[in-house]
């Protein structure tokens, strides 16, 4: 008896044989005792397996009570946080945009730091030996309209209306007034003109060389005319007038630092009006002025302000993203 015979017996019990197969198998069952015994044991086995009772589930799988309904929670905190983040983002945007638009003009560094930076420049000003400058550094933001009052000791030239022409490059040399060069004793005033020479001007280097050698004004043809010590810088120059030119510069456009020597009260006779706008009417232009200021103040403050503005904008973007995320989460959360 082999597996095929057993398969036939199994199918015979289930009535799954064809008529031919059944007939052949029945003939063999009549003649083969082993096959008959195998069929009986197999039938008993199937009977035993089939007699297994239908089992009852140990528990009911149906839910008789309705499921508890969970009341949706109103999550207030994420929404408040979202609104607060959005408001903070808007404020940061405004602040950042304001800083970037103003170009950092409202947060200029103190004049003292500017002067130090100027002194630290490679081709920085060479202070004339006779120049006595007292640094009364005043933050530019707090400065009144630039009024350089040079207090004279009273020995100033009577009608020394020292109009310091703050010009650029060649203009300075061309329009140089010899009266400015008049050596005087007394207090010196160093008026700083912001709208000055463009650094690429060739005359500037000459003037710088001249000022280094003799401390004269920054002009090609000026050194021999100008015993007045001058301080020059690549981007501007200081004019030290021994005459007290109470320089009243209507320099709202040029928030130039002024360094005055105020040891004595000003005299009315000695008032030199420094009008920057007139001085700038020549070769200079507002962009040059801005460049000048930037060069004098150094790039760091503006860069710092720009970086602050960008940082504020970036913070605004970040907070806006957080606000949007919180909003979406509060919407999708149950």
């Amino acid at each position: 008896m082999n597996d095929h015979d057993f398969e036939l017996l199994s199918a015979y019990l289930d009535d799954e044989l064809s008529n031919e197969e059944r007939a052949v198998l029945e003939q063999r069952l009549q003649s083969e005792a082993d096959l008959r015994r195998a069929l009986e044991t197999l039938r008993a086995t199937v009977s035993l397996v089939g007699s297994l009772p239908l089992l009852k589930a140990p528990r009911d799988f149906t839910l008789k009570a309705p499921p508890l309904s969970i009341a949706p929670k109103v999550r207030v905190l994420p929404r408040l946080a979202s609104l607060a983040s959005a408001a903070a983002a808007v404020l940061l945007f405004i602040a950042g945009a304001g800083i970037l638009n103003t170009g950092g003009g409202t947060s200029l560094p103190p004049a003292s730091s500017v002067s130090h930076e100027i002194a630290a420049m490679p081709t920085s000003a060479v202070i004339a030996p006779t120049a006595t400058v007292t640094n009364t550094a005043v933050p530019l933001a707090t400065l009144p309209p630039v009024t350089s009052e040079a207090d004279n000791s009273g020995e100033a030239p009577s009608q020394a209306e020292m109009q310091l022409s703050m010009t650029t490059g060649q203009t300075a040399s061309d329009q140089f007034d010899p009266a400015l060069a008049a050596p005087t004793e007394g207090e010196t005033v160093m008026a700083f003109a912001a709208g000055a020479v463009a650094s690429e001007n060739a005359g500037l280097s000459d003037s710088a060389a001249a000022s280094e050698s003799g401390g004269s004004l920054a002009a090609n043809d000026a050194p021999e005319k100008t015993p007045t010590p001058a301080v020059t810088s690549p981007s501007g120059f200081f004019t030290q007038a021994t005459q007290p030119p109470p320089a009243t510069a209507a320099a709202t456009a040029s928030p130039a630092p002024t360094q005055t020597n105020t040891t004595e009260p000003p005299t009315q006779a000695a008032q030199a009006t420094v009008q920057v706008e007139e001085a700038l009417s020549g070769d200079s232009n507002p962009t040059d002025m801005t460049d000048q200021e930037n060069a004098l103040r150094g790039k760091a403050p503006e860069n710092t302000n720009a970086a602050a503005g960008v940082a504020l904008l970036a913070g605004g973007v970040l907070l806006m993203g957080i606000a949007i995320g919180l909003f979406i989460r509060s919407r999708h959360s149950p």
Binding site: V49, G50, L52, A57
Partner: protein
Amino acid sequence: MFSLAYRMMGDTYEASDVAQDAFITAYRKLGTYRGGNFRSWLLRICTNLCYDAMRREKRRPTISMDELAPSPEEDAPLPDPSMTPEQIAERREMERAVQACISALSPDQRVVLVLSDIEGFDYQSIADQLDTALGTVKSRLSRARASIRECLQSVGELLPAQFRL
């Protein structure tokens, strides 16, 4: 459903889990029912879940807690209410022996044996449920029955006389 799962799994807790999963699956897949015998459709789902459970058990053998679990056979209805307690005990003994032999089968043979000899499906229905050929069902069933017979003959001395092969 539970009875099929228990015969397949041989464990009360696992059979309960499979039966519950089968009902949940049937509820979710109710849209896939395309007519026909609904009982066969349900048992097919249960059979497939039993297959998955047996594969997991094969990979990760677990210690049976069946000794602690109440045997569902204890609560099974008596085939004859007039049976004496001794007869009832002998019958319970036989049922446990058969279940043990069924549990010793391979999953393929076990499924075919349960669907055929316990649930009463014909070969073609089993082949349809298992997506196998009719000849495969026939051969698996014959081998399963042969194995059960040998198993019951080996424990024949422990069985009551009327159940000995």
